[in-house]
Symmetry: C2
Subunit: 175 residues, 2 copies
């Protein structure tokens, strides 16, 4: 797996992953009907760093070299301006067809390393859906703690109003 900054040429596949991620209405705050323009304005916003994770397909390109496919993307940015800009924020999406391969975990570890490299002192997630247990557990394994619970803050497509969590992790030691 390779994780690198996103290029303009990645936008089509990133949008496909974004669409697939929001379609079930169970894990991401964006509405399933969010238009591409709005979604990509958010994912590639000014001040936001956008990365993609790619996997080798096992095929060789006609022009030579390994063929690879983008299977996930994440964003990294400051969570607050000014006197709160020492805390970073990140968001993650994995292609549903590539789940279970450790891509989310690899992007999470990459994001923590990038945030530390950029001088951030902590990372905060503002809106982790409480019913998305695999995400909650992944972030806990990576050292995040639930520091807040937002009652009924997410309208889950099947479960109705469910809680969202605020999760937080210091970057100042390796604990």
């Amino acid at each position: 797996m390779n994780i690198r900054p996103a290029l303009d040429s990645d936008r089509d596949v990133v949008w496909k992953i974004f669409q697939a991620t929001i379609a079930p209405g169970d894990a991401f705050v964006y509405d399933p009907n969010t238009p591409r323009e709005e979604a990509m304005a958010y994912w590639f916003a000014k001040g936001t760093r956008t990365y993609v994770a790619e996997l080798a397909t096992g095929r060789v390109r006609p022009t030579g070299g390994q063929e690879s496919k983008v299977v996930g993307s994440y964003i990294l940015r400051q969570n607050r301006p000014g006197l709160g800009d020492h805390v970073s924020n990140a968001g993650f999406m994995v292609d549903p067809a590539a789940r279970g391969l450790g891509i989310g975990r690899a992007m999470g570890e990459h994001a923590l390393a990038e945030a530390r490299r950029l001088g951030y002192r902590a990372m905060q997630f503002n809106f982790v859906i409480s019913t998305n247990e695999s995400a909650v557990h992944l972030w806990q394994r990576l050292g995040f703690k639930i520091v807040g619970t937002l009652p009924g803050a997410f309208r889950h497509a099947r479960k109705g109003l469910v809680d969202a969590y605020v999760m937080f992790r210091s970057l100042e030691n390796e604990a």
Copy 2:
């Protein structure tokens, strides 16, 4: 006291109040050196409703009618897009020269009524500085609960890193 939607002609005084609010670096996430353009782009953003509180000065205008002065401003907006847009968010500033007159409380009550009128189901504050006790207590008196604590998320000008609170209040009953 009168609270009404802000007009373009209120921008000068709103910016003065904004500047005075951020100057001490102890209560608001924006840096004391934030330029007017950036501050007002935030306070008067698209999708944000901006209000002002005005007090009668006791003088009569040369053209007739009571003279009044803007002494506070607040903003109201959705806290999250899409499947989280049933939760509102608000931010408040009071002219330091007009503190202790109940303007913050009046704007808070006005914001709760406006949010309910607009169909929001709850109100969330994402970043209440823990050392700003008068604000924390005011919001608690208005029915908000601390639902999250962000460790060291605010760089206080005199106290260094201090916690920020996430505060939340349902709008679905009068409790």
